[in-house]
Structures are given as C-alpha cells and as structure tokens.
Symmetry: C2
Subunit: 251 residues, 2 copies
Amino acid sequence: MPAPQVAEPVTEPATEPAADPATGRVPQGERTRAMRARLLEACVDVLVERGWAGTSTTVVSQRAGVSRGAQLHHFPSKTDLVVAAVEHLTAVRREELTSAVAALPAEARSTRAVLGLLAELFTGPVFAAALELWVAARSDAALLEVVTPFERHLGRETHRFTVELLGADEEQPGVRELVQATLDLVRGLGLAQTLGDDSARRARILDQWALTLDAALARTDTRTRTGTRTGTDGAAPARPDIHWTDSQETR
Amino acid sequence: MPAPQVAEPVTEPATEPAADPATGRVPQGERTRAMRARLLEACVDVLVERGWAGTSTTVVSQRAGVSRGAQLHHFPSKTDLVVAAVEHLTAVRREELTSAVAALPAEARSTRAVLGLLAELFTGPVFAAALELWVAARSDAALLEVVTPFERHLGRETHRFTVELLGADEEQPGVRELVQATLDLVRGLGLAQTLGDDSARRARILDQWALTLDAALARTDTRTRTGTRTGTDGAAPARPDIHWTDSQETR
DNA sequence: GAACAAACAGTCAAGACTGTCTTTTTGTGG
DNA sequence: CCACAAAAAGACAGTCTTGACTGTTTGTTC
C-alpha cells in the first residue's frame, strides 16, 4: 500500500572521491570513506522519505547509486547498515544542534528565540528520521539496544545546551524539570508536525510557553538568588504579542 | 531483522459468538460482528507488539485465530483492514478517555491528578498503537488521509476534556495555548516512554508542570478578572515534594 | 610489474507478504 | 427438507527482500 515504487535512479553522485591529480588514482581509504558516507546519507534520506518499513537495503543502494555488491561489502547485513546509520544520524543531529546554537547570536537569546530554535530542530527532517528509529526500536530489541545509548547521550547534550541558552540556573529546584518539560514539549510538537503542517498552532503555543517559562524561571530565580535577573527579559515579558514564526522547511 | 517469526498460535479465542441455546446455531450477523471484532483487536495488539512493519495480514489472522480466507472475506485488502483498525482504535481511545475521566472523582481533580491521568493515557499501549499509525501515515499518503480526520476529532475532544478537568477558562488569553502545550507535553512524554521506562523522570516533570500550570492559570486569571491573588504560590508552592506516582502499566 | 587484498558488480535462492481463486461449511428462506 | 447465499478455509501465483555467492576491477606492496 505504500506504493513501493523503484527509487529515482541516482539523483546525486554528489560525494565524488577526490582523485590524485598526478596518478589519477583514488586512495582506498578515501574510496571507502566516500562509499560509506554515500550509503549512510542515502539511508537517512530514505528513512525520512519512506519511513522505516519502506527502507529496504535495495532502495538504499539504489538511492546511493551503489551496486548491491558494494553495499554488502561495506555492510554485510542490514543490521550493520542500520547500526551505522544510527551512529551517523546521531552525529548529524549533534552537528545540527551545535551549528544552530552557534548561529544564534548571544544577544538574540531570548526565551522565545531559543524555543523557536528547538522547535525548528524537532520539526525538521532529521527529527523525522530519528522518530522513525525510535518507533522502530520500540518493537526491535536489537535496534533498541543500539538506539538507547546514543539517544541518552544526545539527550543530555541537548539538555545542557538548552540550559545554557536559556541562562537557567539548575541549582534552583524545579528548573531542571522545567527544562526537561520544555524539551518534551518540543518533542510532542515535532510529533504533531508529522500529521501535517502545524506551524501556526505551534507558534502560538511557543509564544505562550515562552511567557510562562520566563515567569516560572524568574520566580524560582528570585526566590533564592539576588533579585537582579541576569537574563535579558525579566518578569515583565518582552514583546507580548509578537508571533515569532519559526522558519518552516517544506517536506 | 525484527525476527519475523510465526506468531504464537491463538492465545485467545476470547470473543466466542453466543450460540442460540435451542438450535445451537449462531446467527450470521453475530458471527460477522464477532469475527470482525476479533480481527480488529488482534490488529491493534499486533501493532502494539510488533510495530507497523511487523503487522502483516498473515500475523493478524494468526493472532486472531482466523483463517486467512475468512480474513480476506471480511477485509478484502490490507487497506480495508487498516482503515477499519484505525476507526476501531479511535473508538477504543475515545472510550479509554471518557472512562478515565469518569473514574476521576470530582473532588480529586487537582492539576497534578489530571496530568497524571493524561500521562497514563499517553504512555499506555493504546497510545503506542496510535503512535505507530502516526509515524506510518507520515510516509503513506493513503493512510494519512484516513488517520488525519480521526486524529483531529479525537484531539479536539481530548482538548475539551482537559479544559474541563483543569477547570480552565479559555476566555482568558493564553489559557488555550497552555492547555495545548500540556497535551503536547504528554505526547512528548509518551514518546520518551517508548525508549524505556521513564516513569520516575516523568513524575518529577509532571510535578513541576502542575505547579507552573497552576501559577500561570491563576496569573492569566487575575490579570483580567478580580484582582485577588497576584503571585500566590511564588514563594511557597503547594505540596512541594509529593511525587504523585502515576500507575505504570507494564508492557 | 607481479602478487595480493580490498573494492565493486551482479546474479541467485530462500523466504515472506499480498491478493486471487477454488472448495467446503454454515446459516437462512421457502 | 431443499435451494441459495454468506461465511470460512486453504491452496496458489506474483512480487519483494535479504543475504550468499561468483566474477571483475582497482589499489597497494614488495
């Protein structure tokens, strides 16, 4: 029923291994690296487009423009491929996270902007791929064993980043839980996005949550610290009615 | 890789059609009804246990203790089966929701208790089945068309119930968004649950969320209503350290 | 440049899944 | 009791997926 058609034949050879200008040869290490990279990227792409059930080794090899033999040489079994894809995807997500953080200038780190950033991460294609893996791992013990540790590490990393971006003080009781709640919220928003464009509703929710979160953080803040708040916006919420529309990538 | 083994042969004939004690016959209408019910329940069960990819028509019929021919008689194609399963699952979720609401006595409707109720719904097996459908629908246009309207209706219903249980006043600006955020939060928590037992962390998050939500609802309340209680629980939150452990069904 | 190993290509067999078809059983109406 | 239709059972064909297998090309090393 998912109309298992044949993939479009190799849209992008893309990662062409750099040949030595003198000999015209491509070193083995480079060839291996390029080939594996193409396969893994293709695997993630297919995961996003066709979902877990639609991700067969055949489709991946076709998508990567790689012969089945070559694929089986680098990844002897489908398990090997998937495990490597999980690692690769984790790396991609980590990179996406850090680059997004870097792209957000220090002076623009309002709570709303940070929420928009997170929402963008959790509604993008990379999240979709991760979602497919989570759900698949739910009923596949072997996959679960691979996914879980990676997810744990990345989750903690995301948490740390969020704390830093929000300028939250985790020493304060309840702050840690609020940050976790925020991340679970955007996870839920990411899930809602899978059923259709949800950007308008999401923007309104994030607007309100930013206000609420600011109020809550300020409250737990002033309770034990000095009354001056280091963050940009204090108790009085800045920009009350601005709808900070996060850029919505079309899928 | 999900080890596509043969299902355990018919654990439960369960829904046996009531035979007429006189003739010993079972009327056609009853047979049809019972057969379809068994198939749909089995379909949901398999969805929970094996995930979308592992839900083949063969497995479902085996699980239901129904011959493949009988199955194909009632549901000519897999699409027919799945569509019916989506409707069935929606009905089950609606029933689960209403009965859960009914089971919560009016005097026990603290914010925390309501959150616990929602979390229970969104971490149970029925949510798991729905999750499988959402994710599968993401990359299956036909399925998406079926799932979306049902999901929209049930989502609104859930929203209404939540508003009622929380005693929130949606006329107040921001309240609607906070309720939506709450539902998206539990969705995210449900997602986190799929990767392993998350009940302890969830309990802490919900504790804090209840406090924050109470404060926020009260605040938006007092802002436009009578001016009593400005920042009530700012200093001393009610029930500071009670961990309201939601009953965690083992999966 | 010759020998060796890695990389790459493509075919094949076994099994699983869906959906069609034929046959048998069971209930219903006359 | 009989004729007919619905229900149930099971065999079968076609397609798809996985992984094993054989053969060819390319890089490396002595």
